[in-house]
């Protein structure tokens, strides 16, 4: 009996020691969580603030997130002002110097990513324009490799003793991306150059990588809800370009795109913008599996 009790106590101590050794990471989005888990494996404990079916521009800075951030060793952000409406306030309130901008625990996942749509001038009259460029870069799997590298660098700063482990996982991640890229590219070859319409301007990286051509957006300007005038314009464009598909995101209502669908026969397809957008999108690779299959179904 005594031996059994001792064993349980030792097991508990052992478990807590393993748990304590884990790096506590908070990411702003579920894609960053998925990639961090891939690189950090059992050495990290990761939580994401935004869910996969949530608009990452508009996350409510609930005080409960402050608890997570106050205990974090590392914070990973999409950056480029995507989370400007909520993450700076949460970081300031976290009282955690380790994850403040400039600290070792602050990882800007966009570092080194080649950005698209970098404006030369900024005018709010053009809608929600991001001053550093379009921030939806994770929707190109090749950019996912750069994100993984940034996360790997961040983890190495916090836990240099596990450098080789993280590097090996990074290589596995990169290899898997390269392998999957061949599969995704092959699937998309028949649809290269095909014209589509999107709800919001968040697909430019996906568009470029897979050779699509987004003709127009349902939003007349980024962040401005569709207007009747814009929908009339879209209907005309869909008809004149024989467009088969309108792509949207889980956090936009489909009422506007359904109006266009009714008038033109084009299908409205809701693609995943992040891991967890739909039940079957469990990791970063699933995201592209889902989106490409769904898109091809619509284009057939």
């Amino acid at each position: 009996m005594k031996l059994k009790t001792l064993f349980i106590i030792l097991a508990c101590i052992g478990t807590s020691a393993v748990y304590a050794a884990k790096i506590n990471v908070v990411t702003t989005t579920s894609d960053l969580k998925s990639i961090t888990e891939f690189i950090g494996r059992d050495k990290v404990d990761v939580s994401s603030i935004a869910t996969g079916y949530q608009n990452p521009h508009f996350v409510d800075p609930k005080p409960s997130y402050i608890i997570k951030l106050s205990k974090a060793d590392m914070f990973v952000t999409v950056g480029l002002d995507l989370e400007t409406g909520w993450s700076p306030q949460l970081l300031s309130s976290s009282r955690n110097l380790k994850i403040q901008k400039g600290s070792n625990g602050y990882v800007d996942a966009s570092a080194g990513v080649t950005l698209l749509q970098v404006p030369s001038t900024i005018n709010r009259g053009e809608g929600d324009i991001h001053i550093f460029g379009n921030p939806h870069y994770w929707l190109d799997p090749i950019n996912g490799k750069q994100v993984a590298k940034n996360i790997c660098d961040g983890l190495e700063k916090i836990s240099p003793e596990n450098r080789a482990f993280f590097e090996a996982n990074l290589k596995t991640f990169d290899d898997k991306i390269d392998l999957k890229m061949k599969e995704w590219t092959m699937k998309m070859v028949p649809y290269k150059g095909i014209k589509i319409v999107a709800y919001h301007n968040e697909w430019c990286y996906f568009e470029q990588r897979f050779g699509l051509e987004i003709v127009d957006f349902l939003e007349p300007k980024p962040g401005i809800p569709p207007t009747p005038t814009q929908l009339v314009k879209i209907i005309s464009e869909v008809k004149s370009n024989a467009i088969k598909v309108i792509i949207s995101s889980p956090y936009f209502t489909t009422s506007s795109s359904e109006v266009v669908s009714k008038q033109t026969g084009a299908k409205t397809i809701v693609l995943g913008t992040s891991v967890g957008a739909f039940d079957s999108i469990r990791d970063y690779f699933d995201l592209f599996d889902y989106d490409i299959d769904k898109l091809i179904q619509g284009l057939k």
Binding site: S64, N96, V118, R124, Y251
Partner: protein, 381 residues
């Protein structure tokens, strides 16, 4: 002699500037021809175009700067001048991190006196906040809105109604906005969010409940915030506040307050639908002499319902005594419809009626147009 020296210097400067300008033009011309050559080469080449490394824009140490305009138009039934319109207030905010250890926030206002039409400037808030103290503490020093309940810390432009609740106005006027220090502690509670704030300030100069003492009586405030995630879509906040300070009778006023806020916002469609129910109650004990005290009460409750991405409705009820008159009984009802064009512009129209056992019924219709330019920090949840 001085004239010649001056002329020579001016001529030299002009000459050097023009030489620089010509040389720049020359270099631009060279660059243009080089660019043309590159474009021609790329057009004829079948090799993929390599993308140069991008330089990120805006490496600036300037703080976030914004100006918020608050245009108002109003009709009031029981005043000499029934209609009024104009810029009620302009707010300039400067917000930035100071260094790795602190951030600073400044809010300057230019407020219009509706009687004279003249604007007067004021430092609405100006404070430094630490980013990392041990034991999950955060220190704030300067002039700031006190952590009293749910309305007081919020800037009026961020509220979903135009006229402040009658109970709040009766006890705090335009709010407790005072100079001093504030210490906040994030209670190590893993079950739910708990924050305790303790503040000591000089005492407000112009406030219905409190007055700045010439002696060593300061305004002391404590607020305990309890925040619960009921589900992914719903939250509940329960707060308790206590504030004590000198009053205009040179005695002490103590106010205990409680706030309760329920919010529902579906995570997936959080820009389209939301519902908030918020209630605050104030229990005041004001000593008016060594042997006399007035115990009074005030409360408000409102619901805010978001119908669509841009359309909001707020309905509010408030009941209130006054800090030095428990026999005064005021009831007010208001309804506000808000149209939010974007995050940077909203228009609201509000009707409010206030009845009192001491005064004539007051009716008012207000219109508010809020507009923001620049970068303005997010407000608290």
């Amino acid at each position: 002699m001085y004239y010649y020296i001056k002329t020579t210097i001016v001529a030299s400067v002009l000459l050097s500037v023009s030489v620089m300008a010509f040389s720049q033009n020359d270099s631009i011309a060279k660059a243009d021809s080089g660019l043309l050559k590159q474009v021609e080469q790329q057009l004829t080449s079948k090799e993929p175009v390599s993308i140069p490394i991008q330089v990120r824009t805006s490496p600036s140490t300037l703080p976030d700067i914004s100006v918020i305009g608050d245009f108002r138009a109003s009709y009031r039934n029981n005043v000499k001048r029934n209609f009024d319109a104009g810029i009620n207030e302009a707010e300039l905010s400067l917000q930035s991190v100071v260094d790795p250890y602190a951030r600073a926030d400044f809010f300057f206002t230019m407020a219009r006196d509706p009687v004279t039409g003249k604007f007067s400037e004021d430092l609405e808030e100006g404070y430094i906040t630490t980013l990392s103290l041990p034991f999950h503490l955060q220190l704030k020093a300067g002039k700031f809105k006190s952590a009293m309940g749910r309305i007081n810390p919020v800037h009026p432009h961020a509220l979903p109604f135009i006229s402040l609740p009658t109970a709040y106005e009766n006890y705090f006027g335009e709010g407790i906005n005072d100079e001093g220090v504030s210490l906040s502690w994030l209670v190590p509670n893993s079950l739910f969010y708990q924050e305790l704030v303790v503040q000591v300030t000089d005492g407000p100069i112009d406030n219905p409940s409190f007055s700045r003492s010439v002696g060593n009586t300061y305004l002391e405030l404590a607020h305990l915030k309890n925040f619960f995630d009921l589900s992914a879509n719903a939250t509940l906040e329960l707060g308790f506040s206590g504030v004590t300070g000198a009053n205009s009778y040179d005695f002490r006023t103590n106010i205990a307050a409680m706030d309760l806020t329920y919010k529902w916002k579906p995570v997936q469609y959080n820009t389209y639908k939301s519902f908030t129910w918020q209630t605050e109650a104030y229990f005041s004990n004001a000593d008016t002499s060594k042997y006399q005290a007035v115990n009074s009460f005030g409360m408000y409750s409102f619901i805010n319902f978001q119908f669509s991405r841009r359309l909001f409705f707020t309905g509010m009820y408030s009941y209130s005594n006054k800090p030095y008159s428990a026999s005064t009984k005021e009831n007010s009802y208001s309804a506000t419809i808000g149209w939010y064009a974007t995050e940077f512009q909203k228009i609201e129209i509000e009707g409010k009626t206030t009845s009192s056992n001491m005064e004539k019924e007051q009716n008012q219709v207000l219109l508010r147009w809020i507009f923001v330019i620049g970068t303005h920090g997010a407000h608290q949840y």
